[in-house]
Amino acid sequence: MSQITPVFKREFLGYFRSPVAYVFLVVFLMASVGLAFFIGGFFRTNLASLESFFVFHPWLFLFLIPAAGMRLWSEEKRTGTVELLFTLPITTLEAVLAKFFAAWAFLTVAILLSFPMVITVGYLGDPDWGVIASSYLGSILMAGSYLGVCSLTSALTRNQVISFVLSVLACLVLLFLGWSVFNSVLHSVFPVWLVDLLANFSFATHFNAFTKGIIDPKDVVFFLSLTGFTLFLNVVALER
């Protein structure tokens, strides 16, 4: 596992070697803060809370994380560097983990760069810090699961556009499973127990508890095991 370090380092610093990373960070912040202000009514609610900020994360991630993750493997395949990487003394698992953790760390930076929001609510009111902390934790865990899905889909193709579309579709399904409108449609077709079971696989369902300040081990395990499972499939897809 020691081989993870150099690849992680290369990948993580790699984000900052290209302008794409900075564009991504700016778009990410503008979109997340913009949604909170203009649609979430951040100020109008008159509450010292970041709920209107976090509530959009599942939707924001739906597009932004595939945008960050689409190149993970497809770029390596397109430029042929995958041949270089896999003839270095490194296992597929190490490579998958190193690239995943580097991308996750980058997304964590993007999420944490919203800290001026935290300062704002802290300055203007008396927020519940526990809720804010658990919301950040939930958001980062959920980002990991989205990213796991995107890493897997990007290993399936050398074309970044296909990779992006596949990622969005897969994430959309995982998100919609917990959306009440979608579930009422499902209820008309499937038995209740099945719909409830499917809803258990939704990002939104598990994320909501975090935004209420509840860190339920079940939700943590859900995100971590979904991430682990997609990374396992990622290894299988690359070794095929």
Binding site: T5, V7, K9, R17, T79, T81, E83, T87, T91, E239
Partner: protein
């Protein structure tokens, strides 16, 4: 040092490599020849552990590539066809990354290996340039530097002189010849003179099968007085 045993690779119904076997000993420089699409690169990719063979295997210093690919990869320096590299990195950063994955983690050891590789391939003048902005010949040299970096006992070079100017071609040939005394080298090429100049053995493959395995002198003696490319043509077109 390298023992190739009955390697087979299918792509769909096509047999790209069809039972290739040979051995290469320390001190040998094996010239790997064959028409376009003969299966040279595919064979090399299987020896280096990048592609999994459908049948057969390769042993490098006694390590079986299908059983312990990481051990094999530690023994190898590999220059893939068209020398892929991470274009957004500078030459120095890229070689530093390779050094770290090759277990030169301490700063001094890493820098020493990078300096050595830069020196051998005369890359010092472009060391701070990003790889994507290098000319084709310099990119090729970066690929060569990467393969030599850890002074491996076995070198697998897919068209190492492709894209180099005549002076550099000679430099690289001289370098390979110098290094070869305590190494086993396999290089593919389309330049028959190159084989005569440096190789101690010639293998010609055609349609995935070995058709010639002998010394350059024996190869020339097949049709004394004829041009090498005439001999090559008669060997690789007769069975087409």
């Amino acid at each position: 040092m390298i023992e190739v045993k009955g390697l087979v690779k299918h792509y769909g119904s096509k047999r790209a490599v069809d039972g290739v076997s040979f051995t290469v000993n320390r001190g040998d420089i094996l010239g790997f020849l064959g028409p376009n699409g003969a299966g040279k690169s595919t064979t090399m990719k299987m020896i280096t552990g990048f592609l999994r063979p459908n049948a057969g295997t390769a042993l490098v210093n006694g390590h079986d590539v299908t059983r312990d690919p990481v051990a094999v990869k530690k023994q190898l320096g590999y220059l893939p066809e068209s020398a892929p590299a991470y274009g957004e990195m500078t030459v120095e950063e890229f070689l530093g990354f390779i050094a770290e994955t090759r277990d030169f983690r301490a700063r001094d050891a890493r820098d020493a290996q990078v300096e050595r590789a830069l020196g051998l391939t005369q890359l010092a003048p472009v060391r701070r340039q990003t790889i994507e902005t290098l000319s084709k010949g310099y990119k090729q040299r970066v690929g060569f530097a990467q393969a030599l970096l850890h002074n491996p006992p076995v070198l697998i070079l897919d068209e190492p002189t492709d894209g180099l100017d005549p002076n550099q071609k000679n430099e690289v040939r001289a370098l390979i010849k110098n290094l070869a005394a305590e190494k086993a080298v396999v290089l593919s090429t389309h330049i028959l003179e190159e084989v005569e100049a440096i190789c101690t053995r010639v293998i010609i493959i055609s349609q995935g099968k070995v058709v010639v395995d002998e010394t350059p002198a024996q190869f020339r003696a097949r049709q004394p007085g004829a041009r090498l490319d005439a001999i090559f043509r008669s060997l690789t077109t007769s069975d087409a």
